[in-house]
């Protein structure tokens, strides 16, 4: 490995910290403002909720394995899909991606921490508190109406189902306030990432020389600011409706149900890109390193990301093709939605261009990225189908849509995330994840994913709507639902492999060294795990791949950029 050739090591002697009893360790983590520790806490917190959200999904799949099943009651099923969606979006995907951004952005741009370390800690704890508040609804949701219950209004929480008339007790309040609180956390983190990237880059790192991961997180953070704010506003309006006699969404008093839909989806659709853009970021870092080539078309990749960012702000009503908008409104949102496919397609072609002519090493991170590319391709194409409004009149709100967006979120985002885990775990812990177990994880998850989500398209085409706790036999849905449920078993085993690998490798993994993948960005120039200050001396870069320049002084990148 080339780590010896990197001059950016060295260490700074720090005063000895407090003692090492578990209480003192805990205390250090709770009060920390270190971006790396906060990043790891985000990730650990999100992984915990990933397991919880997965259990909720499993309960739903058991119930739907056969028609007219009695595994859970309709009430419980409705809570499960509400909690599953809310948890996975707000308390798994967002925090885990924020966690990686927190950990990686300062390291990649040669900074010692985020721009606002204490805001960073505040944001994390707000997000964490939001998640706990949501789950406290299981205990306190029904308030005076009896035993506890979680919200059962769906993660879109369409009005007027959330009004006091239809949602008694406090479960909807828990949902609302949990999202409000964690939303403040998200906004704080977005501001922080923006400020960090804009003002904390090391010398020589112009915007055009930033790693793509930093660029993509910059765009993502800007979108969070624009997307989360309307959601926060809508939540406040909902609370005004419920407790202060407002009538924003109260249809019984002349309020508008569709206004909530607009508020929700002007958040909800950019949100999808808020989640997928960091996944793009991982792929844009991993694919070049394992193909041994520079990223193909860097400026175009940046432009495409910014393009996605802008266009995705104008596509939200494609979630609302069935609500009876005028034909020309529908046509407008068809056009914008299909237009997003263009920059997204450009990205896929550029990753392909990166692999083309390379020497591809199929280590676990790259395997997951290859999985990402295939699955994201299919997810994009089913997205084009759904963008065509008339097709959406049939397929929207059906299991086809459920399959489509799980293809994006699991097949795309989660695969990229797993790749990121295998790629950066050595940096975060100083130890390698076990490759053999990693391959088991990959193949089992791949099989489980395709069993579940490929076959899930079919009941949608056959007319099965989503969010039903049971279904009628004789419509040709039985076999597909059973296969879908069987796929879940494979996914569970795969996740167990992953979790075991995470824990076991922390203690027994092979030492990683600074630069196990022979990579090119600044994060690999410092020790694994990096010390609190990241870099003993702030590095200076001349190109997008500073470590390539060091490793290949005869042929450095800056000659060509």
């Amino acid at each position: 490995m080339a780590s010896d050739s990197i001059p950016i090591s060295g260490s700074i002697r720090l005063p000895q910290g407090a003692g090492t009893t578990w209480l003192e360790t805990l205390h250090r983590w709770v009060i920390t403002v270190d971006h790396k520790k906060l990043g790891l806490m985000y990730i650990g917190y999100a992984l915990m909720f990933l397991v919880i959200g997965g259990i909720e999904a499993t309960i739903m799949r058991i119930q739907l394995a056969v028609p007219h099943a009695h595994f859970v009651s309709p009430e419980v099923f409705n809570r499960m899909f509400t909690m599953h969606g809310t948890t996975m979006i707000f308390f798994v995907a967002m925090p885990i991606l924020f966690g990686f951004a927190n950990y990686l952005v300062p390291l990649m741009i040669g900074a010692r921490d985020m721009a606002f370390p204490r805001l960073n800690a505040w944001s994390f704890w707000m997000t964490a508190f939001g998640g706990l508040l949501l789950y406290f609804s299981f205990v306190g949701g029904d308030g005076l109406y009896g035993a506890g219950s979680a919200p059962d209004v769906g993660w879109w929480a369409y009005a007027p189902l959330t009004s006091l008339a239809f949602s008694k007790g406090h479960s909807t309040d828990f949902w609302t306030i949990a999202l409000l609180v964690s939303g403040f956390g998200s906004i704080g983190t977005a501001i922080n990432i923006l400020a960090t990237i804009i003002s904390m880059r090391c010398r020589g790192m112009t915007l055009g020389k930033m790693p793509l991961l930093a660029w993509l997180n910059l765009v993502m953070s800007g979108m969070v600011l624009l997307a989360v704010s309307p959601l926060t506003a809508a939540q406040i309006m909902l609370m005004i409706d419920r407790y202060l006699g407002g009538h924003f969404f109260d249809t019984q008093a002349g309020g508008s149900a569709t206004i909530w839909m607009h508020f929700f989806w002007i958040f909800g659709h950019p949100e999808v890109y808020v989640l997928i853009i960091p996944a793009f970021a991982f792929v844009s870092e991993i694919v070049p390193v394992f193909s041994r080539k520079a990223i193909f078309g860097y400026p175009v990749m940046v432009a495409a990301t910014v393009g996605i960012g802008f266009v995705s702000l104008s596509v939200w009503a494609h979630h609302m093709f069935t609500i009876g908008m005028a034909s020309y409104s529908n046509a407008f949102f068809v056009l914008t939605t299909m237009a997003v496919g263009v920059p997204t397609g450009i990205k896929i072609f550029n990753w392909l261009g990166t692999m083309w002519g390379g020497k591809i090493r199929y280590a676990t991170p790259m395997l997951f990225c290859i999985g990402f590319l295939f699955q994201f391709l299919i997810a994009g194409l089913t997205g084009i189908m759904l963008a065509s409004a008339p097709l959406d009149w049939q397929l929207g709100g059906s299991y086809f849509v459920v399959a489509h967006f799980h293809y994006v979120i699991v097949g795309g985002i989660l695969f990229a995330l797993f790749g990121a885990f295998y790629y950066w775990y050595p940096k975060m812990t100083g130890r390698m994840l076990d490759e053999r177990l990693g391959k088991w994880h990959f193949w089992l998850f791949l099989i489980g994913f395709h069993l579940t989500f490929d076959f899930m398209h079919i009941p949608g085409i056959l007319g099965m709507p989503r969010r039903i706790y049971t279904y009628e036999p004789g419509r040709g849905w039985e076999m597909w639902n059973l296969i879908v449920t069987i796929g879940v078993l494979f996914q569970i085993v795969a996740i167990l492999c992953f979790v075991f690998n995470l824990i076991n490798s922390y203690f027994r993994g092979a030492p990683a060294g600074n630069d196990p993948w022979d990579a090119w960005t600044l994060d690999w120039s410092t020790s694994s795990p990096p010390l609190a200050y990241n870099f003993a001396a702030i590095p200076e870069v001349k190109s997008r791949r500073p470590l390539w320049d060091l490793k290949h002084p005869e042929d450095p990148d800056w000659k060509y950029e």
Binding site: L161, Y298, A331, G353, K359, I360, W393
Partner: protein, 358 residues
């Protein structure tokens, strides 16, 4: 491929599309076929009405285009993943570094833009055709009111109200008699989705919508509520009976009649009527021609003309009817119909009365 070729016979390049379709989603195609003719089918690939038909045609076109894109990119990905893998005899040197190509970037920007334009135009045509259709003379008007968790159907042209089972006449393409549905909601959001007749349209309180169907084949078409509306969203099923014009006219005549004003012959039924009209039943249910005129629940005037109970949740048999009155949760847990605490005898009498509502 029976059902698919049926629809595609009208489309140019049918063979090419069929091949593509089979390539892209073999499972999908295979699954849609055997079901298309079965009575329970709710497949979007076996349309019998113009809106569903035009969506089906569009879906084949979009599938073909996306299928070609998929085939090209998939092949390129597989090729590069295999061809450019690191070989066992690798010399350890880095491959040539290529930073990009303006020509390629331009190509894979412009071509997708053109594809998007084509797809958009094809889509806009269908949107216009379905959404901006005019009502021809002879149109049947039905007001559909979504309730938690059942459907109310009002026929203003004929002056009666019924529930849960929609009857419409078959429409002759030469002289179409489509049915236009005005969609309203009494409480939360719902969505009317009978896949073989048309795409779904939501029923939103304070936000009337319209949709239309012109089924060209008689028969029963199934569907269900497609917008989450509360606890029993799953059993808010849709049944659309498409009948020949004489059958439909006969059905309309029957539905317009009031219940015979004279008391039922049977003593038990007569007693049941008294129970019905002196308990909370009439707060929610209406029986035309009697004192019962509640509107929160389904109109029961011609209850026994319906095949199912509880919005399609159970067949309308005397046993199910009695069970439904006695304990609605046994059939549809979470439904808003309360369990009436009556005696066994009263349940028998009530059932006997309801059985007379033909």
């Amino acid at each position: 491929m029976q059902s698919l070729s049926l629809g595609m016979a009208k489309t140019r390049g049918a063979v090419a599309m069929q091949i593509l379709l089979t390539l892209v989603s073999p499972v999908t195609a295979a699954s849609a076929v055997p079901l298309s003719n079965s009575p329970g089918s709710t497949s979007i690939f076996s349309p019998v009405s113009t809106p569903a038909d035009s969506i089906f045609g569009l879906s084949l076109f979009v599938l073909a285009v996306t299928g070609v894109i998929f085939a090209i990119v998939f092949t390129l990905l597989v090729y590069s993943a295999v061809k450019f893998r690191k070989r066992a005899d690798d010399d350890g040197r880095e491959p040539p570094q290529i930073y990009g190509s303006n020509q390629l970037e331009l190509a894979w920007t412009v071509i997708p833009v053109l594809v998007v334009v084509v797809l958009f135009l094809a889509t806009a045509r269908v949107i216009h055709g379905v959404q901006d259709a005019r009502r021809p003379p002879g149109t049947i008007e039905v007001k559909v009111v979504g309730h938690q968790f059942w459907w109310e159907y009002r026929y203003p042209q004929f002056g009666f109200v019924t529930a849960n089972e929609l009857h419409v006449p078959v429409s002759d393409p030469k002289q179409p008699t489509p049915t236009f549905l005005t969609l309203l909601s009494a409480d939360t959001d719902h969505s009317f989705w009978v896949p073989r007749l048309a795409g779904k349209t939501d029923l939103i309180p304070n936000h009337p919508n319209t949709m239309w169907i012109d089924p060209r084949q008689t028969g029963l078409y199934l569907g269900q509520c497609a917008q989450y509306c509360g606890t029993q969203h799953a059993k808010m099923l849709l049944r659309v009976y498409v009948e020949s014009r004489p059958d439909f006219d006969h059905w309309v005549e029957t539905q317009r009649q009031s219940v015979a004003a004279n008391a039922p012959q049977d003593a038990s039924a007569a007693e049941g009527r008294r129970v019905f009209e002196t308990t909370a039943c009439i707060n929610c249910h209406a029986v035309k021609g009697t004192v019962a005129n509640g509107r929160f629940g389904p109109d029961l005037t011609h209850l026994m003309s319906r095949d199912t109970l509880a919005s399609g949740a159970a067949p309308n048999t005397p046993e199910n009817l009695r069970l439904w009155i006695q304990n609605p949760d046994a059939i549809k847990p979470g439904s808003l119909m309360p369990a009436m605490n009556l005696t066994d005898q009263e349940f028998d009498q009530l059932t006997a009365y309801l059985l007379t509502l033909r």
